[in-house]
Structure formats: structure tokens, C-alpha cells
């Protein structure tokens, strides 16, 4: 064990991370067993549909963790994380499009259907390479990372923070949405990329592949969580909190605040990209609506509901809100946004630290009892 990867191993010795990873593993294992071992029609059976739905929740959870990393620990309220999520999704979508090959409606071995439809003669230069999985998967990290780097470099160097930064991130995702809506961009316009056939040779419609994607998402969430936890429990994490609370003072101590912000922001964008990449094969489509400013705001609501600056709170928030959304939009589709709004207001007023705050209060109460007992004993 060298000292340079100590920061990644540190969270594994931490009780809260162990509990989180334990619960996540248990959830994934239980779902897998219930899906495979119980007969269809049994009350305990988890259908392939539900497995994919849960996989989608886990993608959202990873996205929420990425947002919590920058918002909770660095104080940067990004209202544009949907953009990084969507870019990761598009990178994956392009790979899946190229995998279709000549099985498309028009049967062109190279060009995706929408390009044939638009009468394009050859593949645009930026579509090259996406037939190779390793290249596409690298792009899942690099494209959102590069955008975050350029954007963050300019914004943080000019010391843009607070509300102004939030507004610019919102503008960023809106601008990308408008761009991706255009057919000439070569990303399928408003239809986006869809009609995927297989991933790494596995048929996307088979139950086995769906289960595999679900498990892969669980692993990605676990790794993403440990990476974030590793950052926030390192000295760099404490410097981030210092930047969040007293930026000028941190600068005065000799830290390059803008570089800290840039580093954490890029890591967060990459995690969002991974979440998007795992999301696309499970829902079967990526289109510009993922860039919509509303979606990015919704992510922030998940994190706020779950509890900022805890990471596991973000996971709880993302899963709960999206579960509620699934239930609600099934029962009363029109009422969902009102319900979400009401929930947000209620939590902000009565649970300023979110659901995680409630859990912490509980634990603290028992801790304090213990401490008092010890003092009395001493």
C-alpha cells in the first residue's frame, strides 16, 4: 500500500462507507436473486422491467452523488450537471448506434439511420472511433471532463461563484440542449439516438443483459461513492470545505482555490458522465431533453431532499424521489410536479439538512447519551 492511493482506501475503513457499501451490495444481490431464482408470477419475483427501473434509479443516485460533491463540499451549486450526464449518455449512445451496423431500417453498414434519412453521404469526423468500445468508454469520461475543465477554468479563474455561477451552468446546459436539437449537429436532432441493438455483443433486450447493466450500475455507484468519499475525507476535502465557507481566507493560507474548484468540478462531471453512459443502454434512448434545465434543477432537489454534504443523503434522495415519481406519474401524472414542489418546500422548512440530517440527529442523540454516561462514569 503506497501513500499515493491511501486516500482511496481510507473510506473503506470508515464505518459509514462500510454500511453504505453493505446495504448497496445487499440490495443488488437480493434483486439479482429474486430476479433469477423465483418463478415469474410469484409474489417475490422481480421482473426485468423492475430491474431496469432500479438500474435507472442507481444511475440517478450516482449523478446525485456527483452533484453533492460539488454542491455539498465545495459550495458550487451546479444547475447544469444534466449536461455532463447527457454528454456521457451521448458518447455511449454513439457507440450503441455504431454497434447496430447494417441491422438498421436502411441497412447501411456504417451510417446510422438518421444520417441516411438526412441524405448524408459519409460519417462526420467526430463519429469515427465510436465503433470501438474502449474509445467510446474513454469518451464517456473525457468529453464531460473536458467540457467541465474548459468551463471551470474560465469561470473559476475569473472568480465567478455563487448565484452567478449557477446561472451560467444553467445557460450552459440550455445552450447545449438547443445545439443538440439541431439536425445538422449530427446527433439525431430531437429524436436523439435510439433503436439500440446490443452492447459489447450482448443483446440489450435480453433479461440477462439488463440484469448485467443493473449490476454494473451498482458497481459504478459503489466505486463513485468511494472516490467521492476518498476526496472529501482527504486533506483536499477539508480544503474544499474551507473554500466553500471562506474562500478568501483559504487563498490567504496559500491554497489555489480556483484549482481546487476545478479539480473537484472535473471529477464530478466525469462521474455524471459515467452515470449518463449507464443510463442510456437501460432506457434505450438518449435525446436532447436530458439537457433540459429543468432536469438539472431536479437533480439539485434530490440532493437537497436527501441532505447536502453527506453523499449517502444524495443517494437516498435520488432513489426516493424517483421512486415517488414513478408511483405518482402512474397514479396522477398531472400532480407530480406539485407533489415534488410541496415536498421540496416541506423538507427545506422542516428538515434543512434533509433526510440524512434526520439520521444524523438520531445517531448524535445516541452518541451524546453514550458520552454523557462515560463522563458520569469518569
Amino acid at each position: 500500500m503506497t501513500s499515493s492511493n491511501m486516500w482511496l482506501l481510507r473510506p473503506l475503513q470508515e464505518r459509514s462507507t462500510q454500511i453504505f457499501l453493505g446495504l448497496l451490495t445487499a440490495a443488488v444481490v437480493v434483486v439479482t436473486i429474486l430476479h433469477l431464482a423465483t418463478p415469474e408470477g410469484s409474489a417475490l419475483h422481480v421482473s426485468a422491467y423492475t430491474v431496469t427501473l432500479l438500474g435507472k434509479y442507481l444511475c440517478y443516485a450516482l449523478l446525485a452523488v456527483a452533484v453533492d460533491l460539488v454542491w455539498g463540499y465545495l459550495g458550487i451549486l451546479s444547475l447544469g450537471h444534466g449536461a455532463f450526464f447527457a454528454l456521457g449518455g451521448y458518447a455511449m449512445g454513439m457507440y450503441l448506434m455504431r454497434q447496430i451496423g447494417d441491422r438498421g431500417v436502411y441497412g447501411d453498414p456504417i451510417l446510422p439511420d438518421f444520417m441516411v434519412f438526412l441524405n448524408w453521404q459519409e460519417l462526420p469526423w467526430y463519429w469515427h472511433g465510436f465503433d470501438m468500445a474502449w474509445f467510446a468508454f474513454a469518451m464517456v469520461l473525457l468529453v464531460p471532463g473536458a467540457l467541465a475543465f474548459v468551463f471551470g477554468f474560465l469561470a473559476f479563474r475569473s472568480r465567478v461563484t455563487g448565484v452567478y455561477l449557477s446561472i451560467i451552468t444553467q445557460a450552459l446546459t440550455f445552450a447545449l440542449m438547443l445545439a443538440f436539437f439541431r439536425n445538422e449537429m449530427g446527433f439525431g436532432g430531437n429524436n436523439g439516438l435510439t433503436d439500440f441493438k446490443d452492447i459489447l455483443g450482448f443483446d440489450l433486450r435480453s433479461d440477462g443483459t439488463r440484469l448485467g447493466l443493473f449490476i454494473a450500475t451498482g458497481i459504478a455507484l459503489a466505486v463513485g461513492y468511494v472516490v467521492c468519499r476518498g476526496i472529501v475525507t482527504s486533506k483536499l476535502g477539508r480544503v474544499s470545505v474551507a473554500c466553500r465557507d471562506a474562500e478568501a481566507r483559504t487563498r490567504f493560507l496559500g491554497y489555489r482555490v480556483e484549482r481546487v474548484q476545478l479539480f473537484v468540478f472535473v471529477v464530478s462531471a466525469m462521474l455524471a458522465g459515467v452515470a449518463g453512459a449507464l443510463y442510456v443502454p437501460q432506457v434505450g434512448i438518449i435525446n436532447p431533453s436530458e439537457f433540459s434545465p429543468l432536469f438539472s434543477i431536479e437533480i439539485v432537489v434530490w440532493v437537497a431532499l436527501g441532505g447536502r454534504a453527506t453523499l449517502y443523503g444524495a443517494v437516498i434522495g435520488a432513489v426516493l424521489v424517483n421512486y415517488a415519481k414513478t408511483v405518482f406519474t402512474g397514479v396522477m401524472p398531472d400532480a407530480w410536479l406539485f407533489a415534488l414542489g410541496a415536498l421540496f418546500v416541506l423538507v427545506t422548512v422542516f428538515l434543512p439538512k434533509g433526510i440524512a440530517g434526520l439520521l444524523q440527529k438520531r445517531r448524535k442523540a445516541t452518541d451524546d447519551d453514550g458520552a454523557n454516561a462515560q463522563e458520569v462514569a469518569a
Partner: protein
């Protein structure tokens, strides 16, 4: 510094070309030497032919009525303000007028501002940890490990500032006085040669003031300390040497008794209070 600057910085190409990091030279006595320094803002002379010498390890109090130029003087020493004329030397080797703020800070001049700013969400220990002299770039910070010697160093400072019992409590719960001490502790973690302390006891209770006086006097000898203060009682309790500033230049210098019996000083400053 932009990436381009780093690439074009020829000093860094070969180690032997790098300018030698020269230690502060105090063989001749003074650690800070200001001569004939003047600065004016829109015609108003904030500092007017100021001459000031601080010896290594000395504890010096600077007093003076409002507008006497105390804060401007601190700004000049830390590189925040450039004087119009005069020279400012740190030891006998470093000309502070050729250096910028971060360079001066890393040379070993620490400054405490009037209003204490500590990181309230972090514990007292973590506040000191962040202030510790270390490689502050991103990756070294990410992979930093709390070594036993660092821990000892922090505990030592904790003892000095008397906050051992609050070591693992968030700094947000500290009282005003404790925050001031923590901030002095954070300065000490940076291992400064010269500490500039601006109004350390403003808003403190009687006991806190006493404790602060003890703290500052215990620092003298190891570090040179310059205290700017309004509270005469406090100055009397710590000062060995007092400098009275008036209208941007030194009016009187000496022990507290000498200074407070100086008729000029009584006229401009002490007289008002008495």
C-alpha cells in the same frame, strides 16, 4: 500562474539555474527595517517619512490615534500597498518592495486581521492542519497523510493557544476570543518569522485579554511580533517597546513609561483619553 508561464519559466529547467532560496539574514539584528517610507492616497499622506526597526525576537506594540497610518504600514510590509518612496527590508537580504503578497507570506511574514476568520465547519485541529506549512498543490493535498510529527506540531500549537480541550470540536462553536487565538495558532502553523497582529483584543473580555497577553508575550523570542492595538491597558500589560504613530510618522519610541510621559504623546493621543 498560467500554464504558459510555467512552460516558459526558464529558471525551472535546470536545478542549478533556480535562484537560491536564501534564508532571512538577521545577523545584523533587525528583522524588519523601514526607512523613509512615504505613501499618499489622492494627495493625503497616509505614511510620511516613516522609520521603523524591529529586532529579531522582539515584541513591539504600535499605538496611535485613528488615521495614524497603522493599517497602511501593515499593508506595506505585507506587500498589499506599494510605497511611493523609501525602502523596506526583511532581514538584511530581502527587499520586500520587490516581492508580491504570496512571496512575502511564504518568506515568513504572517498577518492576523482584525476580524477573525476561521473555518467554522472544520474542527479546531483541522483548521490548524490546513494552515500548516506544506505542499499546497492539488495532488499532494489529496494524498496528504497525517504523520505523527505533524500531529505533534499541531498539538504543540494547540497547547500554546490553550485550545487542547476543544481540539475536535467544530471551530464554529468557539467564542470570539477563542477564535482569535485559533487564528493566531493558524498563523503559527505557517512558521512565520514575523507576526503582524492587528487589534487582537477588540471585543474580548477581561480574562480573554489576559490570556491573549500571555500568549503574545510567550511568542516573543521565538518569533518577532508586532501588535497594533488601541486598548492602552492591554498595551501596558504586554509592551516592552512601544512605538507611537501620528500622522504617518513615528512620534515617540521607548518603554511604555517613557512614552506615556512624553508631552508630545500626551498632547496627541493619551491626553484625549485621560
Amino acid at each position: 500562474m498560467s500554464v504558459l508561464d510555467q512552460l516558459t519559466n526558464r529558471d525551472q529547467v535546470f536545478d542549478f539555474l533556480a535562484p537560491e532560496a536564501s534564508p532571512v539574514d538577521v545577523r545584523h539584528g533587525p528583522i524588519l527595517y523601514m526607512e523613509d517610507v512615504s505613501v499618499s492616497f489622492d494627495g493625503f499622506k497616509a505614511i510620511n517619512n516613516l522609520n521603523l526597526t524591529i529586532d529579531d525576537g522582539e515584541l513591539r506594540c504600535i499605538i496611535g490615534p485613528n488615521g495614524a497610518g497603522k493599517t497602511t504600514m501593515m499593508d506595506i510590509i505585507t506587500g498589499k500597498t506599494r510605497p511611493d518612496t523609501g525602502s523596506v527590508w526583511f532581514g538584511s537580504r530581502h527587499n520586500l518592495l520587490n516581492m508580491n503578497e504570496p512571496d512575502i507570506a511564504s518568506l515568513g511574514i504572517g498577518r492576523k486581521f482584525q476580524k477573525p476568520t476561521v473555518f467554522e465547519a472544520l474542527t479546531v485541529f483541522e483548521n490548524l492542519e490546513l494552515a500548516m506549512a506544506a505542499d499546497k498543490r492539488i495532488l499532494p493535498t489529496l494524498t496528504a497523510i497525517m504523520k505523527p510529527e505533524y500531529r505533534d506540531q499541531i498539538d504543540e500549537v494547540l497547547e500554546m493557544i490553550g485550545l487542547q480541550s476543544l481540539r475536535d470540536r467544530p471551530a464554529g462553536i468557539l467564542s470570539h476570543g477563542q477564535k482569535q487565538w485559533l487564528e493566531i495558532g493558524m498563523l503559527l502553523m505557517q512558521k512565520p518569522r514575523l507576526l503582524l497582529v492587528d487589534e487582537p483584543v477588540a471585543g474580548m473580555t477581561e480574562q480573554e485579554m489576559e490570556r491573549t497577553a500571555e500568549l503574545l508575550t510567550s511568542l516573543a523570542g521565538k518569533q518577532s511580533v508586532v501588535v497594533v492595538e488601541h486598548d492602552m491597558g492591554f498595551v501596558r500589560s504586554i509592551a516592552r517597546e512601544v512605538t507611537v504613530l501620528h500622522q504617518g510618522s513615528v512620534l515617540a519610541e521607548g518603554s511604555m513609561d517613557q512614552v506615556s510621559n512624553d508631552p508630545e504623546v500626551i498632547k496627541v493621543y493619551l491626553g484625549e483619553e485621560a
